[in-house]
């Protein structure tokens, strides 16, 4: 409950600041960043296992760790988008929305019954739609927000339908009681499919991914990175808990489902990413493919599978945030968002070039970056079911993904450009965040005890 309380306090603090006299963004932003850092550090201390409100809310050390990951993500985003945040005219509101979403995600992770689950899922989604609209003068931004809110309303409807069916069959909405009552009847399976499609929608698993690219492209980069990293991580964590906890009796059914969707996500995400020009759309499709990989780990359905997904999400977060951070610096200072604009980036901005390359190699799973370890652990846990075809398809997809990641690397390092992007000034907070991300990309994998630590949290 501690993280939720701190986040709520910060939200109220920001509301009061908003009500008071105007503070310049230059002064407010460092303060907010500091508070978020405190929130992140505090999330490691005084974590108690237990449940509250008649099992509506429960927590354990793994959930606390997952919340720390989400807090870290929010903190890094606040650093990386410094350029954009300083310009925006509604700074407190932006953070109020983002922290509300974070609050929703934390509650979601801890939710113990379907009602609070639905409530927190909505709390985690609706602020994001408002955030997508934050580039007030851009038409695309409003379009993105509209698409987001409409499609997430639709998915909520489906989720509610699923929940009501489950309640109708079992007469309970408490997670802890559901596994005993899950009877595997066709109606129950249908309810599960409804529930699952809502997850699939939020995680943008193929074929529920159609909103992703447009929303990612239209939203400000800070929102895009929040959506693709923090939000995705939260939903993936919950998916793990729900599948391996509540729907454990149906595991033979959802294993097939996960395998099919995982293959579809990897293939379609990769094939579409091949042809993207806009870096945001590019990262959107690459993240669809990454979700396919996450599902490989989910399909393992074991404690070690959960650990490897959590570990991969941590790596995916730092790698993706590093890539988005570089894109955000370039986009804010030059307005360029196309891969072809990145040609010759290395010449004037070697630091940005290296960070971007490191991030992309990590996403592609090339050693010695952490992404290699993350992907390999996912494949290892997924392979424990003995489906070599599935693992082979996943391995082949790593080659396709390498091809398009290399496209960006080639643009940055190799391709010639008569007018490369000039030397950009990188603000101190951005530098700090890029440094943290790069160091984590290099060290998270080699320092194997981190995985063992996550494994010990069960």
């Amino acid at each position: 409950m501690k993280t939720e309380l701190i986040v709520t306090i910060i939200i109220f603090l920001l509301l009061f600041i908003k009500l008071g006299k105007d503070i310049k963004n230059e002064q407010l932003l460092p303060f907010i960043q500091f508070v978020l850092l405190v929130n992140f550090i505090a999330s490691f201390f005084y974590n108690v296992d237990g449940s509250l409100f008649g099992d509506m809310f429960y927590t354990n050390s793994l959930i606390a760790f997952e919340k720390s990951i989400l807090s870290l993500g929010v903190y890094l985003i606040s650093l990386l988008s410094t350029d954009w945040l300083k310009k925006t005219s509604h700074l407190p509101e932006f953070f109020i929305l983002m922290l509300s979403a974070l609050l929703g995600m934390c509650l979601l992770l801890s939710s113990g019954n379907l009602l609070i689950f639905y409530l927190s899922l909505e709390l985690a989604t609706i602020p994001i739609a408002a955030m997508s609209n934050f580039d007030l003068i851009k038409k695309r931004s409003s379009e993105a927000a509209m698409k987001m809110i409409l499609s997430s309303a639709f998915s909520s409807g489906i989720l509610l339908f699923g929940i009501s069916l489950i309640y109708g069959i079992t007469g309970t909405i408490v997670f802890a009681e559901l596994p005993k009552l899950a009877d595997g009847s066709s109606l129950f399976i249908m309810a599960f499919v409804f529930l699952f499609s809502s997850f699939a929608f939020k995680l943008s698993i193929v074929p529920f991914h159609l909103w992703t690219a447009d929303v990612y492209e239209g939203s400000p980069i800070a929102v895009t990175s929040f959506l693709s990293v923090v939000s995705k991580a939260a939903i993936a964590f919950v998916l793990l808990t729900v599948l391996s906890g509540v729907f454990q009796p149906l595991q033979d059914i959802w294993y097939v489902l996960i395998v099919v969707l995982s293959v579809a996500s990897m293939l379609i995400g990769n094939l579409f990413a091949l042809r993207q020009e806009n870096i945001k759309r590019f990262l959107a499709f690459s993240s669809i493919a990454q979700v396919g990989f996450i599902l490989v780990g989910v399909s393992g359905n074991s404690n070690i599978g959960i650990s490897s997904v959590v570990y991969f999400m941590l790596i995916y977060m730092v790698s993706n945030l590093a890539a988005f951070g570089v894109a955000s610096v370039i986009s804010e200072q030059t307005g360029k968002e196309n891969i072809s604009d990145y040609k010759g980036l290395y010449k004037n901005n070697p630091l940005l070039g290296w960070v971007l390359a490191l991030a992309l190699f990590s996403l592609a799973g090339i050693p010695p970056t952490a992404g290699f370890f993350g992907k390999l652990y996912l494949l290892t846990t997924g392979g424990s079911k003995g489906s070599y075809l599935f693992i082979s398809i996943a391995a082949l997809n790593m080659i396709i993904s390498l091809f398009y990641y290399l496209r960006v690397v080639r643009a940055v390092f190799i391709d010639k450009n008569n007018q490369p992007i000039e030397k950009l000034t990188i603000q101190l907070p951005v530098k700090l965040a890029l440094f943290v991300c790069s160091v984590s990309i290099v060290l998270l994998g080699i320092m194997g005890w981190i995985f063992d630590y996550i494994e010990s949290l069960h």
Partner: protein, 492 residues
């Protein structure tokens, strides 16, 4: 001897290269680091010999074992046998020479040397590791430096070549990954090569897994028909890049085929040996005949590499002790020889700005040192006694001939025939390059090799002639290890 030293030196060199500022410092730091590594490799060699002389019969010496990830049973497990020692020696020779011939790289010098050192670190780690996961880690680590080396400093159709190389090698590693996970699960969550080799794996399962591993490593070592990255990659790469690719990188594949695929899955090896023999015979003949048609010296050496590497794959698939020793000697000999060949081609190209055989002529008159080295390396390639090529090929042929049925005999004879073709293209190429009148008047004023080029050539020549004159030190190193592998194949 602590094996971590052999990883520590390149790692430290790489970090130092990133830290120092001027180009001169970068060069000297890399050179000193590579030389230190060469010395360390020799120390390893002597320490290994001392241990063997002291009747130490352990399969792997100087083992180091740290737990990396307990949950997956992954260990940072290093250890060497004769094969790894020989491979590490080869690598350190090529690295020193490669760094010396790149002395004049002006474009992004720091990045260039850093990538070379990263590549060599991958190779050292690969040859040292006894844990499949760590082995795979180092193997993949060496892929991206190759891509960038070709893409940034390459020539010709470098984009195409770099992409082709990276994707094909990644394809190879995807196959290895699947095979590796297969072994992991059948062995009860075990990546340790020593433990896996003690395991009895059912024949059916070996038949299933073997192709994944052998083909995967085969892509790295230009197994026909997965050799197509070789000519493009080698000819587009900068000189040191080609030397590393042919001298070190292709050997990673050969070593993997032997140590992982054949050693761990002997039943699989027996089942598929005849297919490997057919493929490598095709590679030997095809490589040799295609080389005859080439006009470009780099393409020539690249295709002849396919043919030469074919010898070692052929010998491996014969599954006898002498043949496997021969395969390993061929790998070492080819590594040194082809690295030197690419170095010489690079030196000639830097001066004449052409790699076309028919545009050159009479280079002997202006650059006697370079052309002498070209002659020596050419003779080594066609198997002149006294140089390493002869020793290695003889061992391969003797070992292959021992398998006495018509199929293996036919393959051996086909392989021997290719020697004639090799002689034709080598003699023609070096003849028209070095002899005759000077075709292009501007060639008359060209300078001979500089000190760094001379040193690089001499270092590699020491290796080539050292093996050629006194092969026993190398074969004594390789034989016991090859015997362990053949014993496992025989089921002892």
């Amino acid at each position: 001897m602590n094996l971590l030293l052999l990883l520590g030196i390149p790692l430290l060199t790489g970090l130092l290269v990133l830290l120092v500022s001027t180009k001169v410092q970068v060069r000297w730091v890399s050179f000193v680091g590579a030389t230190a590594q060469l010395i360390a490799s020799f120390l390893l060699f002597f320490a290994f010999r001392t241990e063997i002389a002291d009747q130490n019969t352990a399969q792997f010496l100087f083992e180091v074992d740290y737990t990396l990830i307990e949950s997956f049973n992954i260990h940072f497990h290093l250890g060497v046998d004769g094969i790894s020692v020989a491979m590490i020696l080869l690598t350190s020779f090529v690295v020193v020479a490669g760094i010396l011939v790149s002395w004049n790289i002006e474009k992004m010098t720091k990045e260039f040397y850093f990538l070379l050192i990263l590549l060599s670190l991958g190779a050292y780690g690969f040859f040292l590791s006894l844990d499949l996961f760590v082995l795979f880690f180092f193997l993949e680590m060496a892929v991206i430096p190759k891509y960038l080396l070709i893409g940034i400093w390459g020539s010709g159709k470098k984009d195409y070549s770099a992409n082709k190389l990276a994707l094909m090698l990644m394809g190879g590693s995807a196959l290895i990954l699947v095979g590796m996970l297969g072994l992991y699960f059948i062995g009860g969550h075990e990546f340790n090569i020593v433990h896996l080799s003690k395991l009895t794996i059912s024949t059916d399962y070996q038949h299933l897994i073997f192709p994944f591993l052998f083909l995967g490593f085969g892509v790295f070592t230009a197994l026909f028909p997965f050799h197509t990255w070789v000519p493009d990659g080698h000819s587009s790469a900068p000189t040191a890049g080609s030397m590393f690719l042919a001298g070190i990188s292709m050997k990673l594949g050969g070593y993997g085929c032997l140590r992982v695929a054949i050693y761990l899955l002997p039943e699989g090896a027996k089942e598929y040996a005849h297919i490997i023999i057919v493929l490598s015979s095709i590679a030997i003949l095809y490589g040799a005949f295609v080389t005859m048609m080439q006009k470009d010296l780099k393409y020539m050496n690249a295709y002849s590499s396919i043919s030469h590497v074919g010898f070692s794959l052929l010998a491996m698939a014969m599954l006898t002790q002498t043949a496997i020793t021969g395969a390993l000697m061929q790998m070492i000999s080819h590594g040194l020889m082809t690295a030197l060949f690419f170095a010489v081609i690079g030196m000639i190209y830097d001066r004449t700005h052409t790699r076309m055989v028919d545009e050159m002529g009479g280079l002997m008159k202006t650059m006697p040192f370079i052309t002498t080295v070209l002659f020596l390396v050419g003779f080594c390639s066609l198997g002149l006694p006294g140089l390493s090529g002869f020793v290695a090929e003889m061992t391969v042929f003797v070992g292959s001939w021992q398998v006495d049925d018509w199929f293996h005999r036919a393959a051996t004879i086909a392989a021997i025939m290719s020697i004639v073709v090799t002689a034709v293209y080598i003699l023609r190429a070096i003849g028209s390059t070095a002899m005759g009148p000077i075709k292009n008047p501007s060639f008359a004023t060209l300078k001979d090799a500089t000190w760094n080029e001379k040193l690089a050539a001499v270092i590699l020549l020491i290796g080539i002639i050292g093996i050629g004159i006194a092969p026993s030190w190398l074969s004594n190193l390789l034989k016991p290890a090859a015997e362990i592998i053949t014993n496992r194949i025989m089921g002892k």
